[in-house]
Amino acid sequence: MMTIKQYVRAESLEQAYQLNQVRANRVLGGMLWLNTSKLAVNTAIDLSGLGLDQIEEGEDAFSIGAMVTLRQLELHPGLNAYTQGAMAKSVQDIVGVQFRNMATVGGSLFGRFGFSDVLTMFLALDAQVELYHAGTLSIQEFAQRTPDRDLLVRVVVRKRPGRFVYQSVRNTRTDLPTLTCAVSQVDGAYRLAVGARPMKAVLLTDEEGLLAQGITPESARAFGEYAARTVPTSGNLRGSQAYRTHLVQVLTQRGILELGGDHHGA
């Protein structure tokens, strides 16, 4: 059980950032992950008074505040129209509606959890992460960094012509995923994000040009095989390494076929 000595509702990002430089202090997102810890927190820093709970849709981009909940991502019409429903699909099996009303985008990404559906989806979206101190980075670079004492302020998803497909395999509906897989084609470039390997999600592009001549059953299969050869996996109680690698191949192939308009998959 986490204990907290003092609770502060931050009045500015600067105040939150300064408080967060103290090791015993913690920023609160939805507090769902934190609550499973046994941390002795000195000051809990609540970001909920800073207006970061909105998804703003502009002409060129979506700006998603750190305190936006997973349920907001699931229900946002613009974001789901842009991603052809993939955004909703990426979060809708995370525990339950009550949980998704609390879990935040900031907490979900900042934790860089291995099992994260959210990180997998934002990698395929080629999103940008705005940090209070370090400025704006690509989600790929952010994912590779070790968590520090910075603040995640918002995530930006640029609107570029794109198609997106999200899939996950779970042993039961609301369990942590055994494998997550998001594929996209944005401005002509293919991206594949695979998470819950069970390690943190990684991003793969079509470096070998396997899809350069277009999506066909053969090219989708070849890209799936390439992904299975390239994406490292390992085993844990949810699935063996061999099973996960097989899933990488099958989900990638299906995802690519679906990107190409085949909704029945391989």
Partner: protein, 151 residues
């Protein structure tokens, strides 16, 4: 620290610790329908409505509810009475421990979507676990209630 909020329509002022959970706060204010089932945010037994939205009170700081409206089953007796009989008629509950969480989340579902399909109901209630039943009774009960409304 001092906390002011509205609990089931009543203004409440109380002294709390920084880490008092909303679950313990509402229980200490007589709302014992709200239960601690798992404490790991998996079971939905501790569901309350915070400004009308269902959340898990086992992972919500009471301090975060300052100035907001918290509703528990104690404050929703009339709305619940509409459909709980239909669930009971199906013999859906065995020990009944999960029932308040199911009822709270069903209220939230029906406010958001008054005419859900069976899949909508399953998806919305996926975060409410029952250790005794196979969920079919609860689903049949809600379906029977919805059908009865259509006359």
């Amino acid at each position: 620290m001092e906390l002011k909020l509205t609990l089931n329509g009543r203004a409440v002022t109380a002294q709390i610790e920084a880490d008092t959970l909303l679950l313990d706060f509402v229980r200490s204010h007589g709302c014992t329908s709200v239960k601690r089932g798992c404490e790991t945010t998996n079971c939905g037994l501790c569901t309350v409505l915070l400004d009308g939205k269902p959340v898990l009170s086992c992972a919500t700081l009471a301090a975060r509810a300052a100035g907001r409206t918290v509703t528990t089953l104690e404050g929703l007796q009339e709305e619940a009475a509409d459909f709980v009989g239909f669930i009971a008629d199906q013999g859906a509950d065995q020990c009944g421990f999960c029932n308040p969480g199911f009822v709270m989340n069903t209220i939230a579902l029906l406010r958001e979507n008054p005419d859900p399909t069976d899949d909508d109901i399953r998806a919305y209630l996926a975060g409410n676990l029952c250790r005794c039943s196979g969920y079919e009774g609860q689903l049949r009960g809600i379906r029977a209630y919805l059908d009865s409304r259509k006359g």
